[in-house]
């Protein structure tokens, strides 16, 4: 077993990527060079990683990995997911830091009182959550079939399909959103977490596609199913992050979205001075006035 060139390649590509980005961000190279270079380097990186993983699977096929080695790799992947969890904890920290005690510039309210029209969490995002959670179920189904001894690739196909559907949904949501990443801390946090989550969904989907390919060729057996287990773990991690993001950012974060305009309206209609909440009479009166 000789030396592998892939780690050095990964490092060199990473250096080039970072230098490219650093120069590009500071406008020392043209925009095309920045994004073109980044694209080329990312593709190169994926090729090198692919070669690395290919040699990994070749080693498995040849029988070089003992059972303990396989255990090692599973633990290593679990630790990698652990580190990813803490990365997201850092990102969520930013969100909670800003949202729990909204600053004066935001009007001491979250969502900020000016300029942000939050999304309705019970519309498109709810569909997204449903899609992703069901893809978690189909991923479990895939693992169960492999454990039972037959490679039912439809299960993984459903997972991949739902994952792609989710990504498309999110893209549409981004396009139709009423705010951008530049719109203050609300926009920054929102796109930060959903954006990084989206990148992880893409990575997880690619891993799932690889497992799908393996299942189509019937390569898994109950004693050789490490990669699909890892892939499904990763997919579950991605799913849980999204559920957390949905609950905290979409629902909890936008909690005031129905109330705030309502409160403003109530102030305007001077209903507030008479009682705490308008009753049916006030609503009827209001309807009468606008009629």
């Amino acid at each position: 077993m000789g030396s592998s060139p892939w780690p050095a390649c990964v490092s060199i590509i990473t250096i080039s990527l970072f230098v490219n980005m650093a120069f590009g961000f500071n406008r020392l190279v043209s925009k095309t060079e920045l994004w073109g270079g980044t694209l080329v380097l990312l593709i190169l990186l994926m090729l090198v990683c692919g070669a690395w993983w290919e040699s990994l699977s070749l080693e498995t096929l040849v029988g070089m990995n003992t059972a303990q080695e396989v255990n090692n790799m599973k633990l290593a992947f679990a630790l990698f997911i652990w580190s990813e969890i803490f990365f997201f904890i850092g990102l969520f920290w930013a969100f909670f830091h800003s949202a729990l005690v909204p600053s004066d510039e935001l009007g001491c309210m979250w969502p900020p009182i000016v300029g942000i029209m939050p999304m309705d969490p019970y519309a498109l995002p709810l569909l997204g959550v449903t899609i992703l959670v069901s893809s978690g179920y189909s991923a479990n189904w895939a693992v169960k079939t492999v454990k039972a001894g037959f490679n039912d690739w439809r299960s993984m196909g459903v997972t991949v399909g739902l994952g792609i559907l989710f990504s498309c949904l999110q893209l549409y949501e981004y396009k139709s959103a009423g705010f951008t990443m530049q719109d203050g801390i609300y926009g920054s946090c929102f796109y930060l977490i959903t954006g990084f989550h989206g990148l992880h969904v893409l990575a997880g989907t690619m891993f799932n596609i690889y497992c799908l390919k393996m299942m189509v060729y019937g390569s898994y057996s109950p004693s050789h199913m490490t990669s699909i287990q890892m892939s499904v773990w990763y997919w579950h991690f991605v799913d849980i992050v999204w559920v957390a993001a949905y609950l905290f950012i979409y629902i909890w974060g936008n909690w005031g979205m129905y109330v705030t305009p309502y409160a403003v309206w109530m102030k305007k209609m001077e209903i507030f001075e008479h009682k705490n909440w308008p009753g049916i009479v006030d609503i009827l009166r209001f309807l009468f006035t606008i009629y």
């Binding site: 990964v10 990473t14 250096i15 970072f18 230098v19 650093a22 961000f25 790799m73 803490f86 920054s188």
Partner: protein, 410 residues
């Protein structure tokens, strides 16, 4: 599988940046040099040597296996570390230099004040170093967890170095991603007009401080834990004992320091305007970490006690180890003083803080590295160094660091 992925030993990079120049580079260069001094020492000297170097060499030896699990990952860790060094040097040498301090607080490091290449390169460099650390730590954790062979049951795992490297790896795997998050936010702020650290947009520079120090405090334990392991080894060898006194207690103390290290980051933020109760909590938690650390010091003293010593015959590394115990304790005591929020406020921005961390680092981590180097030198090279020369090394260093840093307490 445990084949010739030979670059793992090149983790033993000995890169030292001497103290900032006195006469020549003044003005803005001073900030650059100071920043680079910190980055170099922490990320490219202590960490690669004690974690990469010692870990790669000794973990396989001490748990009696041939090589670390996943040598390719190890290799990746080396290459990423080298790349990180390259980027950091690029940052230093590019226009303006890196004048933001190793803690890189916004708004100074944000685009309003330091728009330009150096900080971006430094951010990317730290990203790479972080990836390198995570990769290495995953490797160590997997190896230690899974590949203990023979009669080394987990709880009575003998070599202290294994325990401390285990703790170090857990710290790395958990805290580095939070640094990565903070760095990413800084990068986005600098170039994508986000508002994470800009109050005008609702953001908060304190957020950076939280994220950075949530990494930063475990980082300093990462720097010192392997040193603890080395000292245990040297002392028990010097005292002609089989193992350090109270080895189970020592293991628990190391784990305790590692775990509690996550709970105290706020003591770097005592003047940032935190709530009084928050400061009270962090004071209390920080003071509590002194307990397991004290346990370790007492156990080392107990190891020395009853040992056979003779100045003429003792190995030079004994001096390093005893010097460590003495000077690290002094540094720890100044740390206990700084743990108090009220005193810390008074001592903030003073040389007292500099004295504290240089005592625990230059005299803690570095003494352990030098001591370990001379302790294991015959083992690594098969040659025995001349004792008087090694002792001279020790005396000069000892006198030097003490003269440099002791006066800073005033």
């Amino acid at each position: 599988w445990s084949g010739v992925f030979g670059l793992s030993l090149s983790h033993c990079m000995r890169i030292e940046l001497s103290h900032p120049g006195e006469w020549l580079q003044v003005g803005y260069m001073y900030h650059s040099i100071m920043t680079m001094h910190a980055f170099m020492m922490i990320f490219f000297f202590v960490m690669p040597t004690s974690i990469g170097g010692l870990g790669n060499w000794f973990i396989p030896l001490m748990i009696k296996i041939k090589d670390l699990s996943m040598p390719r990952l190890n290799n990746l860790s080396v290459w990423l570390a080298l790349g990180s060094l390259f980027l950091m040097c690029m940052a230093f040498l590019s226009s303006g230099g890196l004048g933001c301090g190793w803690t890189m607080y916004p708004p100074l490091s944000n685009s309003e004040f330091m728009d330009g290449l150096p900080i971006d390169l430094a951010v990317f460099s730290l990203h790479m170093a972080g990836m390198s650390s995570i990769a290495g730590s995953i490797n160590f954790l997997v190896t230690i967890f899974n590949m203990r062979m023979g009669a080394l049951f987990f709880m009575s795992l003998n070599p202290m170095l294994i325990w401390t490297l285990f703790g170090t790896s857990i710290l790395l795997v958990t805290s580095v991603p939070v640094l990565a998050a903070g760095l990413t936010l800084l990068l986005l702020d600098r170039h994508f007009s986000t508002s994470f650290y800009y109050p005008e947009g609702g953001g908060d520079p304190i957020l950076w401080q939280h994220l950075f120090w949530f990494f930063g405090h475990p980082e300093v334990y990462i720097l010192i834990l392997p040193a603890f392991g080395v000292i245990s080894h040297i002392l028990c060898r010097s005292s002609a004992k089989l193992h350090v006194f109270g080895k189970i207690g020592m293991s628990w103390a190391s784990m305790g320091i590692a775990w509690m290290g996550f709970l105290v980051w706020g003591h770097h933020m005592f003047v940032a305007g935190l709530d009084i109760d928050t400061r009270a909590y962090f004071t209390a938690a920080t003071l509590m970490i002194a307990v397991p650390t004290g346990v370790k010091v007492f156990n080392w003293l107990a190891t020395i006690f009853g040992g056979v010593y003779s100045l003429k015959h003792s190995h030079p590394s004994t001096f390093w180890a005893i010097g460590f115990v003495l000077l690290f304790t002094i540094g720890g005591l100044t740390g206990v003083i700084l743990a108090n929020a009220a005193l810390s406020t008074l001592l903030h921005d003073s040389y007292y803080v500099v004295a504290h961390f240089h005592y625990v680092l230059s005299m803690g981590a570095v003494f352990a590295i030098f001591g370990g180097f001379w302790f294991w030198f015959p083992f690594w090279t098969g040659m025995v160094p001349r004792k008087d020369l090694v002792l001279t090394h020790f005396m000069l260093t000892f006198i030097g660091v003490n003269f440099t840093f002791f006066p800073m307490h005033w």
